[in-house]
Every structure is written in C-alpha cells, then in structure tokens.
Amino acid sequence: MNERFIILVEKYFDNVLSAEEKNEFEHLLNSNPELKNEFEEQKKIKEVLNKMKLRNPSRDVWDSYWMGVYNKIERGLAWIAISIGALIFFGYASFEAVNAFINDTTTPPLVKVGIGILIFGVLILIFSLLREKIFTHKRDNYKEIQR
C-alpha cells in the first residue's frame, strides 16, 4: 500500500488536510480505483467505530478507585515490614536452633548426621528452585518491559 496514501487518509479523517494535500488526495482517488475502494472501506469501518465507545462502569467504581490503590500500597508496605521482621526472627531462631542442636550431647551422632543431611537436602532444593526462577526470569521475553 502507498504510504503517502495512508497518511492522506488519516489526515482526511483527522480533518487536517491542507488544500494542496486535498488536491493530491482527490487526484489519487480519481486515478486509482483500487485506492478509492480502499478508502470507501476505511470510511465504512470508521463510521461503525465512531458510533461506539468503551462501556463506562458505575460511578461507585470511580469513587472507590483511589482508595483501592491506596489500600494496596499500604498493604504492600505492611507486607515488606512483616517479611523483613520474619526474616530476622526466623534467621535468629534457626541460628539458635542449629547451635543448640550441635551442642546437644543427648542426641546420638547418627541422628545428628541424619538431620544434618535432611537440612542440607532442603537447602539444595530451595537453591535449585530459586535458580530456576531466576533463570526463567532472565529468559523472559517480557523482562525488559516488566517495570
């Protein structure tokens, strides 16, 4: 399709054709029946589109819109605070638990080794899952546009 013709059609719909462009456009339409046909099709579909609009939701939606955004922002901040607190708490608790477990003389060494291997396995699993997630993110087609 003639790029110039497309620009002229769009300018025609936008009502911004200059006198010179108007002449050029009319000349194109009169000299090329295929372009004239294309233009008629564009006019028809434009007519249909001009009659429509996107459905407006009820007024309540707009009245509560900002509060919805604000509540989510506030809750997001709350979750960050909870996560940091939980991380510090559980980090410290884990450290203390491991310390107590290692220093515990009543637990047989074999049980200690078993639990140690179990924890090691869980850590590998968590590491593997995290790596997979990061790897998927790196290969994500929309990575650049997620912000």
Binding site: I7, K51, V69, E74, I145
Partner: protein, 179 residues
Amino acid sequence: MITEKYREPSISKKKKREFEVLVKNNMKRAYFSALGLLGSHDSAMDISQEAFIRAYRNFNKYDPKRKFFTWYYKILKNLCLNFIRDNKSRKEENYLEYKINVSSDNPEKEVEQRELIDLLYKTISELNVDEREILVLREFEDYSYSEISEMLNIPEGTVMSRLYYARKKLYDKMKRKLL
C-alpha cells in the same frame, strides 16, 4: 504521649496527596486503556490499579518534564501483556456500547444495534494486541497521533499505517462474518 511521627500513616500526607491527584486525574484513561486490551472490567480494574502501585514505587524514575500518563502507560501496557501471556484462557466480556442509544420504542433498531456491537466486539477480540491497542487508543480514547506516537514510542507515520491496517483487517474480518 504519642508523637506526630507515630500518628503519621505509612505514606507521608504530602506524597499521598500528590499521588492521589495523579491517580484521580488519570484513572479513567488508565482503566479504559486496560479494558481495551484485556476485555474485562475486573482485570482492567486490577491491572490499572497495580500499574499505579508500580508507578508509585518507581516514582523516582519518572521525569516530571514528560507527561505522567505517557510514562504510566508503558507500565500499564507491560502489565497487560504479562497478564495476557499468563492468562491465555481468560474470559472477555463485551465492553462496547453505543455512544447514542436508540430509544427502546424501536425494538428492531435496538436488535440491529446489539448485533453490530456483538459483531464488532468479537472481531476486535480476534485482532492481535498491537492492532487492538492502536484501535482503542485512537478510535475509542481519541488520542492524537502524536500522543499515541509518544505513548508507544514509534514514529507518527507508523502510528498512521498501523491504524490503517488495523482498520482494514477489522473491516475484512467483519465482512467475512457477514457473508
């Protein structure tokens, strides 16, 4: 005694007020842009609100010399694309209506209008995201070519040709359905 600091909400009042004004000034076009892409009221609400939250969190990256909505629209579009990618079997609902409705004392005309709305909505749903987006922005949201060019980061000529071909495809598809 409780100090002023402890009585303050998580977000400072000044920052909240500024952002509230931005949200209220842009919420309608944000919602309608998302609605045009996602085709569902609930999804459009969720995604447009989520985009405002992301905008809030990344507000330090916003250049005040530029229009807020142009910057916000990029976040919104990316969230919409992610949503479309992750929810391939999502349900859409008819989100179109007539600008001027025919009075209910003309049932024939009313049925005709309803059929045309359904046909148009279904056909638009079959277009790809880029075509849908440009049609929504220009035909339903009335953005100028230069505004669309800025929002989509493409030259005005590309906006015009993308729009032209989107309308052409829409016309061809509707014509085929009517035959």
